[in-house]
Symmetry: C2
Subunit: 226 residues, 2 copies
């Protein structure tokens, strides 16, 4: 049976903290369409090569940025006749969260400079290629929407962290201070971090306990927001 | 430039209340693959015909069920090498909410019986065709997740409703009683219903005011859950 086919891409918004500021990875396109513009890292889904959409997103991530990350989430799909001048196309958008210490190629393995751009609305270099402004906007909203009621912010921390560092990242992304004892109670209920046995920060008289995520690939949703 | 193409479908979970029970529309497939099995209404995205993915979902909805609805929401996308025996395919899943009084063809315009199945987990006739069990599961979760903090339940009511009817649909979907004055306060804050001028239910000594949705196509999200 002959049936219609379309171009399908995966495009990935890769988020990372630089200092206290949330940044996203953008690539200078060196081939048409939109040659010279910035875009999210992305590529076609290849039926011969990829087993699932998520496989395709992981392949694109590694091929284009050298990054692999345990945390990848599908955001939404965007498809219409005009977003790509080559014709009807569908983009399956993902977001990835990487730790601050992750090594990322500055020149991507497949060519094209990779830059980290602050996600502050004023700083974003619009317009991006294709409809990537819209896709990036959806990914930023998804991340911000989840900050208050999930373990997502912890995926932006280094592998080992203290509870004050965990609280600071939530406060940073939410934009307000949180009560220390209420925060610790909620973290204990949500049960997504575990102490790293025998590891403490030696800087003070009573060195703080160091923690890590119980499961790096699976975020935990809270019963109610912070 | 030659680039890879894939089959892309839209599949729609259409929800409707029958009595107090949430139901979903399923179609008896009369063509392969999965001939004889039940599936969600769906079809290929046609680049020549559809302008956007949402257009395609609306076309499929009308062609296959005779239903048109103001409320349609993208749920997620599912794509891999094995979900369709014909080869690699991507399904963009939507959910639609229709009012109880909506007329729905019993024999679909394109052939195949349409049946309404209760969404109670025990009653679902698994396995559905393709990966539609998984898609339907995702749509049910999305709907249930949003019940507590959005106007979504109101989209399952008749065009005109009273506040006690509105409260009853929330209680029904959430599965617990709600305090009347707290509920009314939250509805007033969320500001998504408006009185229908001059229309009251005449059944009682003090006939209750009748309301309708301010905007049928756009649900409102609450600041906090009910």
């Amino acid at each position: 049976m002959p049936y219609p086919q379309l171009a399908v891409t995966v495009d990935v918004a890769i988020f990372r903290l630089i200092g206290r500021a949330l940044h996203v990875a953008l690539i200078h396109r060196d081939t048409p369409p939109f040659s010279g513009a910035l875009s999210l890292p992305g590529g076609f889904v290849r039926g011969q090569e990829d087993t699932t959409l998520e496989d395709a997103a992981r392949r694109v991530l590694t091929d284009k940025t050298g990054v692999s990350t345990p945390y990848l989430e599908q955001v939404a799909s965007f498809g219409d006749a005009t977003r790509d001048p080559r014709g009807w196309s569908v983009s399956i958008a993902y977001m990835a969260l990487v730790r601050p210490e992750t090594e990322v190629a500055e020149i991507t393995p497949r060519g094209g400079d990779l830059i980290w751009h602050s996600v502050d609305e004023e700083a974003l270099p619009a317009p991006l290629a294709f409809d990537h402004d819209r896709i990036l906007g959806a990914a930023i909203r998804r991340l911000r929407d989840k900050v208050e009621y999930s373990s997502l912010p912890a995926h932006l921390l280094p592998e080992h962290f203290t509870l004050p560092e965990l609280q600071a990242i939530y406060e940073n992304l939410i934009g307000r201070s949180l009560d220390k004892s209420a925060f610790r109670k909620r973290m204990a209920e949500a049960d997504f971090v575990e102490p790293v046995e025998g590891v403490k920060r030696a800087a003070s008289h009573r060195p703080p306990q160091v923690y890590r995520l119980k499961d790096e690939a699976r975020p935990v949703l809270f019963n109610r927001s912070l």
